[in-house]
């Protein structure tokens, strides 16, 4: 809990400081970015062109903040002192090589971390000004506000498409009156409505992988979360489905905060406003650098970030 008061001592932790200054400078960067012409297809250009398409987020409303997060599995220290803010109306991409703790980190954000028997953590996750790990917090309410989409599409096979979308309400024992309206709006927002509107009573397993993943997105939207965590949502999908999911992410980001873990640098550049680069150099995973996506891809401050985003390792 005291991590946030500690002065950042190592070089790596400069990244945490960097974000704060970047937050202030963000609006300027955005205006600059929109002026830049898109001429080639490098990652940097992809990242820049993305900026022109999003609105300027209201910097004051910090929906979710991670403060000095450490994580352990048994005695293995897997995450060290991660602090990161997520803003409503933006997409934050977490990139980094396998095993650097990105997935562990986002599972900490909605308290899925604690399902692993030996898992432990330190630090705070602040949602609307309250620590989600405080004693007496109803964990199911946290997960309603912070939804999650997994790597492998996992619709409930015993339920129909309709039941799948509305399953969150049933699971959390929420009663609503206009279920059909909600069903349609969720499927529309997930970009799946036109494909399934005539087969809502078929089982979820009958859909293709990409459709199943969008069904899972629709399912998480039904409980109206303010943050959506996506753990490599496209890694099991073909390029066409990936494209459609990215469109969905773009549309959704207007109304909520999205955190996406991805191994696909192009994807990070295409969909995100902010990017965090994680790296575990033999030790625990650390947040090497974070900031506006176009900065990370055009002029990263850390040599290791540049090496990674330019494909020199990882």
């Amino acid at each position: 809990m005291s991590h946030q008061d500690n002065p950042n001592s190592t070089n790596d932790r400069e990244a945490n400081m960097d974000q704060k200054t970047q937050n202030q400078a963000r609006d300027t960067q955005r205006r600059d970015a929109t002026r830049r012409p898109v001429s080639s297809h490098s990652l940097a250009d992809v990242a820049n062109s993305r900026l022109s398409s999003v609105g300027v987020p209201s910097g004051s409303s910090t929906g979710l903040e991670a403060r000095g997060i450490h994580a352990w599995f048994g005695s293995k220290h897997v995450l060290e002192d991660i602090s990161l803010d997520f803003f409503t109306g933006t997409v934050t991409a977490l990139i980094g090589p396998s095993g650097c703790g990105k997935s562990t980190f986002i599972r900490i954000l909605n308290r899925m971390h604690e399902f692993i028997p030996t898992a432990a953590l330190a630090g705070q996750v602040i949602l609307d000004g309250k620590d989600v790990y405080d004693a007496g917090v109803d964990v199911t309410k946290i997960r309603l506000k912070v939804g999650m989409v997994f790597q492998k599409p996992n619709p409930f096979p015993s339920m129909t498409i309709r039941e799948n979308v509305l399953s969150g309400l049933k699971l959390a024992q929420i009663k609503i009156e206009n279920a059909d309206e909600l069903l349609e709006s969720c499927l529309r927002r997930a970009g799946l409505w036109d494909e399934v509107k005539d087969r809502l009573n078929e089982y979820g397993g009958a859909l293709s992988g990409g459709q199943q993943q969008r069904l899972c997105i629709a399912r998480s939207l039904a409980v109206n979360p303010q943050v959506l965590l996506m753990d490599e949502p496209c890694s099991a999908l073909d390029p066409g489905s990936t494209l459609r999911i990215e469109e969905t992410i773009r549309k959704l980001s207007a109304s909520m905060s999205i955190v996406i873990v991805t191994h696909n640098m192009q994807q990070a550049a295409r969909v995100s406003d902010f990017t965090g680069f994680f790296l575990a150099d033999g030790g625990p995973g650390r947040l090497i650098e974070s900031g506006a996506t176009n900065d990370i891809f055009t002029n990263p401050k850390q040599q290791r970030t540049e090496d990674y985003v330019s494909g020199r390792f990882g």
Binding site: N110, T140, R143, K152, N154, F156, L171, A172, R219, V223
Partner: protein, 326 residues
């Protein structure tokens, strides 16, 4: 020219793919095949033995062997022929079996859920062992425990049920004798079949795909709503199959039921009344003093029981396999 030749070619025929097994493979194959065959042959021989010895009894009685209530030896003085029918006993067997399922399955499924999702780690292992050991306790022990320990309590419960629910025919009482009833036999059987249903349910619950469980939790599910939405739909077939295996055991159980159940050759639907039937117990009861003709009838009764339990077990296996494939 060449194209003509091509057209004349016959369509390709799939090749036969064979493998020449090695000698060691052949030996092993022979060993396991004969092992598998032994159990099949034994099963067949048992069935044959029963039908061979009991055939005459069934032939004499015809269909009334299945439907008849009476089990009476011939009385030459008044020219009364022997009348053997397992109807009452078969009915009683099914009643106690169903009662055992009604009491046993909820307890077993609850235990399995507790062990899979609620029990703390330190309790889990010892409890699994205890439940498995329950399956190894000899049935006469259950019978004696049922008679001396459970029955006084169960009698009181039965009286309560009768007092408040006697408008339902099965809880009615023509005579106030509450001991040694199908109700009590069902309770004892429920405890006896609980371990196997628990073990199978626990196994299928443990196989619930973790990503589905996580999906439910990520949507804000409580543990119970997660279990209802994910674990039960996944494990349903396994639980039903386990219950059928338990039923198979309950139908064939002999000594425990013999100890706690009053055998009466009559079909009565009042489950609280001290009057029940059970084919296996009846065979034990009559076997000691049976003459040749009655022995034949007992063999035939055994055959009926054999077939019934076989059918139940086949259904159980079918359900379990069907679930495993899905």
């Amino acid at each position: 020219m060449s194209s003509d030749l091509l057209e004349q070619k016959s369509p390709p025929v799939p090749r036969v793919i064979t493998t020449k097994p090695r000698f060691t493979d052949k030996v092993f194959r022979a060993v396991v095949t004969s092992g598998g065959m032994v159990s099949l042959v034994l099963l067949g021989l048992i069935g044959f033995f029963l039908i061979y010895n009991g055939f005459e009894a069934i032939q004499n009685a015809g269909l009334s062997f299945l439907t008849g209530f009476d089990w009476a030896d011939a009385i030459p003085e008044i020219d009364q022929p022997a009348m053997y029918g397992v109807g009452a006993m078969l009915f009683g067997t099914i009643v106690t079996g169903i009662l055992a399922m009604l009491f046993g399955v909820p307890i077993a499924v609850g235990t399995a859920l507790f062990l899979s999702y609620y029990a703390p780690e330190w309790l889990k292992k010892p409890m699994v062992v205890v439940v498995d050991v329950m399956a190894a306790i000899p049935s006469i022990v259950y019978g004696l425990w049922g008679f001396f320990v459970l029955m006084p309590h169960a009698e009181y419960w039965a009286k309560l049920i009768h007092k408040y629910l006697s408008f339902i025919p099965i809880f009615d009482m023509p005579a106030p004798v509450f001991t040694r009833s199908p109700f009590i036999a069902g309770l004892v059987l429920a405890i006896m079949i609980m371990p196997i249903i628990t073990a199978i349910s626990r196994e299928v619950f443990a196989q619930t795909p973790p990503e589905r469980i996580q999906a439910a939790y990520a949507l804000g599910a409580t543990k119970w709503s997660m279990i209802k939405a994910v674990v039960f739909p996944y494990g349903r077939g396994g639980v039903v199959g386990g219950a059928m295996l338990g039923l198979g055991r309950a139908l064939g159980e002999t000594v425990a039921v013999y100890t706690v159940l009053n055998l009466v050759y009559d079909i009565r639907i009042e489950i609280l009344l001290s009057s029940g039937g059970n084919v296996a117990s009846m065979i034990v009861n009559k076997f000691g003093e049976a003459d040749f003709v009655e022995l034949q009838a007992l063999m035939a009764a055994g055959f009926v029981l054999f077939i019934v339990t076989l059918i139940v077990n086949f259904i159980a296996n079918f359900i379990i396999n069907k679930t495993a494939r899905e």
